[in-house]
Symmetry: C2
């Protein structure tokens, strides 16, 4: 299950992608348009800024804007950043302690395939794709 953190982040990125890329959009505006709690969004945007997916500017005329063109963001990187991992089972996470049952686990190959499928899916969709409706 993708949590609200990932889904909201994606919606924010899309919101910004649909704005004039020249100016900064304040959080209030995004929150109002997306109908998401401003304070909660703040936490999400913080992560996006810290990881340079967005840039924030303070003071009047400030707000947030993208650091790249919409075509240069994949849905996968946004979701992975917010969710921590997209791995479906514990033993396939980056930091997973190697399970001693791995050699005899007959479900592991299936989980691996599934993992690859998810990765391929999300890392081949860009914000631009979504905006252009290439998934409707």
């Amino acid at each position: 299950m993708i949590s609200t953190r990932g889904r909201y982040a994606l919606r924010v990125m899309l919101d910004l992608a649909q704005q004039n890329s020249g100016h900064y959009t304040p959080l209030d505006e995004i929150a109002a348009r997306q109908e998401i709690s401003k304070k909660y969004l703040e936490i999400i945007l913080k992560t996006l800024v810290q990881n340079r997916l967005l840039v924030g500017l303070r003071g009047k005329g400030g707000g947030y804007k993208l650091t790249r063109t919409p075509a240069e963001y994949t849905v996968g990187e946004i979701l992975e950043l917010m969710e921590g991992t997209l791995a479906v089972v514990a033993c396939l996470q980056n930091d997973a302690e190697s399970c001693k049952r791995n050699p005899i686990c007959i479900t592991l190959p299936m989980w691996k395939r599934f993992d690859e499928m998810i990765h391929d899916f999300f890392f081949h969709i860009t914000l631009e794709d979504l905006i252009q409706g290439r998934y409707s």
Copy 2:
């Protein structure tokens, strides 16, 4: 993320599928072989029995056994039963209250596609497939 409930259930079903289908296998044996807490497995097996994926028999010589051949179980039905749902986002769950943003949500089509992909994947793999190593 698939939780241990789903993963353990799958392992138990595979364990039973690999036993002589004639007799009943006691919980103790399964728990020992799979190295999973007996008490915790009890909860999982209860659900499987209640939904007729397994049948349980009490008393000496009792235990659990499959109600169908391994080829007649899909991984999808086992996981969906244990996890409640395989839906990746809240708005695609069975009991989801219809989100008023649906008509304008540009991420929804993507989630739908993803959902279908997951469904297709898991509902086309049977226990027999895993046992025969058709996923290694």
